[in-house]
Symmetry: C2
Subunit: 228 residues, 2 copies
DNA sequence: GGCGCAATCGAACGTTCGTTTGAATGCCCG
DNA sequence: CGGGCATTCAAACGAACGTTCGATTGCGCC
């Protein structure tokens, strides 16, 4: 009677019972968590949007936090896999003699996530991820172990690509670079408001170029403080 | 019986009645809104932390949103005033012939806010502001009119300082620059977690230098997309 | 001394929250 | 055909929410 946090049934096992309530719950929760926030979203809103019974959430995911965790893991795993794959490709080239270009490293890290933002079914999740940086709450800390492997691998790669930077400086600049990415993921729909309408529409792949150019320039900035 | 949203009584008018409940409510709410979030903070937590009665919030501020608005306006007005003052000083020099250095423009915009983050009593507010970029909810939209004047003035100044950038590009890069600032405000306490402990401690004024250097380099990045 | 008023208070309002329960439902397999 | 099982369902749980109410307090001023 209580599968609690069981893995989903094998994908092609046959016609799932009821058009997969589990999936509809994940989709609805993803949208609502992104649109409002975790705290501001009630399970009644989620189940209503999913056309499911209120108790379905606790049946399939154990709790509201379990639902959040499932929403998150469903999308972040493929992204992190692709990130690691791209990084491995770059490092293979590096071992073969050609050094890693900073922009390529940034793309390997950022493009998998930004790709999501331009797909119809990933837009909500992108907004959700963008808030991981600034939103407090234990629903996030319960999930950021998923980033550990990717993070440390990329930090090492960046350190190799920018050997002249002292570790502390590099750390802060990476923090900034990741921050810009998150801000873009969270607020692409808000940039008009924030810049007062100055920034017009831009094709998504161009925004990625802008992001990579901005972050790369920031990471490569001269070491000491320049102005003033 | 109902002052609702009245302005606070004149500052030096005499010994305020009860050790200023109003002020204690603002302080407690500021900390809790920053520490948790607006949605996750209850008025009962606020009034308990302030040592006030539950009804005091609705008496002094009309509603929870009114409390949030008051928390915000109390701090943002001096900050925006200083920003405008610094900008005016730069523009005066500009009119006198010496062009505005991009780094100085960034400092005029960012230093007043970052100063807050290194003062004991402004730290919580800094964290709160940092979430304005990514946190949804009407408590924010009810307050962002306060940024209109500062925003448009600075956007014009940046456009003058970077005349070679097409407006769309400038808009996105300003969005990125403001985003980095917010990320720093929101997450200075989280950078260790996010970069995996690579970034060590850094004196706050050095972090400001790093932020300005990063943003300036990003804003000045070559126009088209550089690498691939 | 007593009126008026701003402020605080305890208590309750009606809602909504996340979670739990136990009974129905529909399907597969023996 | 019928027992077992995963799933769905309506209903209720106690707790906590934002807000409102009327009474009470304490001070300044005629």
């Amino acid at each position: 009677m209580l599968p609690r946090d069981s893995a989903q049934p094998p994908p092609g096992v046959g016609p799932v019972p009821g058009a997969d309530t589990r999936q509809r719950l994940l989709d609805a929760a993803e949208r609502l968590f992104a649109e409002r926030s975790y705290e501001a979203t009630s399970l009644r809103q989620v189940t209503a949007a999913a056309g499911a019974n209120l108790a379905a959430v606790n049946y399939h995911f154990g709790s509201k936090q379990g639902l959040f965790r499932a929403v998150f893991l469903r999308r972040i795993e493929p992204i992190n896999t692709e990130r690691m794959g791209r990084l491995a490709a770059l490092e293979a080239g590096e071992a073969a003699g050609q050094p890693v270009v900073l922009e390529e490293l940034l793309r390997a890290l950022m493009e998998p996530a930004l790709d999501l933002a331009r797909q119809e079914d990933g837009r909500w999740f992108a907004r959700l991820v963008g808030r991981a940086f600034s939103e407090p709450g234990e629903h996030w800390t319960a999930v950021d172990a998923e980033f550990h492997e990717v993070r440390s691998a990329f930090v090492r790669a960046f350190a190799r690509s920018l050997p002249h930077l002292p570790p502390t400086t590099l750390g802060w600049r990476l923090f900034f670079a990741l921050g810009v990415q998150c801000v873009l993921l969270a607020g692409a729909s808000q940039h008009q408001r924030i810049t007062g309408g100055l920034a017009g529409d831009l094709a998504p792949e161009v925004v990625l170029d802008e992001l990579v150019a901005f972050a790369a320039a920031g990471l490569r900035a001269p070491a000491g403080e320049p102005g003033t």
